[in-house]
């Protein structure tokens, strides 16, 4: 903006105007709008119970903006660049709140020629949603089993890498929709020389920043609860079962089965009279098997999780 006097050198991963096709512009706006609405709901709830939260979240947003245009030293290349900043913001303010802050920050950044007006949705998704949620998840997973600085650093690293992978995916989806996987790899490889060193810089930056805050104002980051026993058990089971399946598939692959799957076995043995034209089968055919299995997993998990406590109480 004409009165802005911020230091805005260097480069980072904002998609500029003119790159994404109109249908993708709308798509990323729509997806980000859902998360922004959820974030706004969370913020409004907090403001309703504690009105002082409004200036607090706003001032944190201002600091996140300043940090995201700040130069940090990058290893190997010897140059300096901007951190993504959203994993750090998610640790301090929460991931949904970070989506709102980053959407506003990206809108204003477009007015200092970083990113673009039509790409606010896409940039919010890559930085504010993928970067913040990915980083925050890693932070929560590692927080109770590793030092605070390490879990925060890993959040920064994961958030930065996720941001550039999602940006590469957004470019591939819009520019080369006929061969997305190939171009996703290509754009990701193209970003590596600048973004991988920056991810390591983000690791150090987030780790040091969180350590500093924990030493000076501990209540800012110690308020979040750790994982309960149920969550821990579920995550351990998830990793164990996924490892067994992966190991089994790999053993089968080495034996020459080429991961043909167990569809034939299931159809012939377990469900010989199943309707091949059912809604489930048609949905699978339309959206692909992985999407179908994901839907089944989400539905089953949600229902089981919802009734879990009630079941135990009755017993």
């Amino acid at each position: 903006m004409k009165s802005s006097k911020l230091d805005l050198g260097g480069s980072n991963l904002h998609i500029s105007d003119g790159i994404l096709e109109p249908q993708w512009i709308l798509f990323w706006y729509a997806v980000s709008a859902v998360f922004i609405a959820l974030g706004l709901r969370a913020i409004n709830k907090r403001i309703a119970s504690d009105p002082s939260y409004l200036p607090r979240i706003s001032l944190i947003g201002a600091v996140v903006f300043v940090i995201s245009v700040w130069h940090i030293p990058v290893p190997v290349t010897g140059s300096s660049s901007h951190p993504v900043g959203t994993p750090l913001a998610a640790i301090i303010a929460g991931p949904f709140e970070t989506v709102v802050i980053s959407a506003i920050a990206l809108f204003f950044q477009a007015f200092v020629a970083h990113g673009g007006l039509t790409t606010v949705g896409a940039n919010t998704f890559s930085m504010g949603i993928a970067g913040a949620f990915g980083g925050y998840l890693i932070y929560r997973l590692l927080k109770n089993i590793s030092p605070l600085w390490f879990s925060a650093g890993m959040a920064g690293l994961a958030g930065s890498i996720l941001t550039y992978l999602v940006t590469a995916l957004q470019l591939a989806l819009s520019l080369n929709p006929e061969n997305v996987t190939y171009y996703w790899k290509l754009y990701s490889l193209g970003f590596i020389p600048t973004q991988l060193p920056l991810a390591f810089a983000e690791f150090a930056f987030t780790a040091y920043a969180v350590r500093y805050i924990s030493e000076t104002k501990q209540e800012l980051i110690s308020s979040s609860r750790g994982m309960d026993r149920f969550t821990k058990t579920a995550l351990v089971l998830m990793v164990v079962i996924a490892s067994v399946i992966a190991a089994g598939a790999y053993t089968g692959y080495l034996s020459g089965y080429e991961m043909a799957g167990v569809d034939g076995t299931v159809e012939a043995g377990a469900a010989p009279f199943a309707d091949t034209d059912s809604i489930g089968a048609r949905l699978m055919a339309r959206f692909g098997e992985p999407m179908g299995f994901a839907l089944v997993g989400i539905t089953g998990g949600l229902v089981t999780g919802y009734f879990w406590t009630g079941l135990w109480r009755k017993n």
């Binding site: 003119g18 790159i19 109109p22 512009i25 706004l40 009105p51 506003i104 204003f108 673009g116």
Partner: protein, 275 residues
């Protein structure tokens, strides 16, 4: 020597009248033009924002490179006229870097019409597509840069209110706009203080520690300051339900201008498709 004055004053009178009337007329025309230019700059920011957004969308849907190029040249000429060419060029640097990256990737990988360059092949389809994307980015970035030099933060916030952006977003945005410069300046001061105490002088870890401590200090200050800001808000009679004054309506001439420009942009996009 003074014959022209004593015997034939007509020429002298003509020249005198002509000169002074022209002088007054010239001054009047200049003032009128300045006034018109001033009015041009005062086009409603909502119209500027919406027309720019529509123009960028139209450019991203264009299939011929020459329209974006023409738009880029027009906006570059406007930047020259506004004496912001240096700033304009600086702000175009990053979008054009990304555009070049896409041009290279497309040129070396996309398409079937292959040209052998010896070590690696070049694809003509990819070069054409990459160049189209390049021109789109150039034109879109030019529009954005020109827009940002003619719109202020407050005008932007007013436009957001008019566009029915949620009140919480407006509130957070207006706070952010006010405090971004404050925290930026504070960050610079802390950095200067660290540098004067031999900070930012060691290896990577030391410099990163210094940068992160500035960030941590700013975050803790933000928390501390937010309490003071809240107390100040309360002392001015603020409460969660209090909202700002009504949004000023859009002027008729601005609405007509917006309509004409939007129609022109849509027409250009349609023309590009049918060409």
């Amino acid at each position: 020597m003074l014959e022209w004055l004593t015997r034939d004053p007509l020429n002298g009178l003509v020249v005198t009248f002509a000169f002074f009337i022209s002088l007054i007329a010239g001054r009047y025309l200049r003032e009128k033009r300045s006034l018109a230019e001033g009015k041009g700059r005062k086009t409603d920011p909502r119209i500027k924002l919406m027309v720019s957004f529509l123009l960028i969308i139209a450019i991203t849907s264009m299939e011929h490179w020459y329209f974006p190029i023409i738009i880029s040249i027009l906006f570059m000429a406007a930047a020259m006229r506004l004496h912001i060419l240096w700033d304009y060029s600086k702000k175009l640097a990053f979008p054009l870097l990304l555009a070049s990256f896409i041009l290279v990737i497309q040129g070396f990988t996309y398409g079937v019409n292959r040209i052998d360059l010896g070590i690696i092949p070049l694809y003509m389809d990819g070069v054409e597509y990459g160049f189209l994307i390049f021109t789109r980015i150039f034109a879109s970035a030019s529009i954005l840069v020109l827009l940002i030099t003619t719109i202020s933060e407050n005008e932007l916030l007013e436009s957001m209110r008019w566009l029915r952006v949620p009140v919480t977003v407006i509130d957070i945005s207006s706070f952010m706009v006010r405090y971004i410069k404050t925290f930026s300046n504070e960050g610079k001061k802390i950095k200067l203080a660290q540098e004067s105490r031999c900070g930012f002088s060691g290896g990577f870890a030391n410099r990163m520690n210094n940068a992160a401590s500035i960030c941590g200090a700013l975050i803790t200050r933000a928390f501390g300051r937010s309490d003071m800001v809240y107390r100040a808000m309360l002392s001015r009679g603020w409460h969660p339900g209090s909202r700002q004054s009504r949004i000023p309506p859009l002027g008729r001439s601005d609405a007509v201008l917006g309509l004409v420009l939007s129609s022109g942009i849509i027409g250009l996009a349609v023309f590009d498709r049918f060409l």
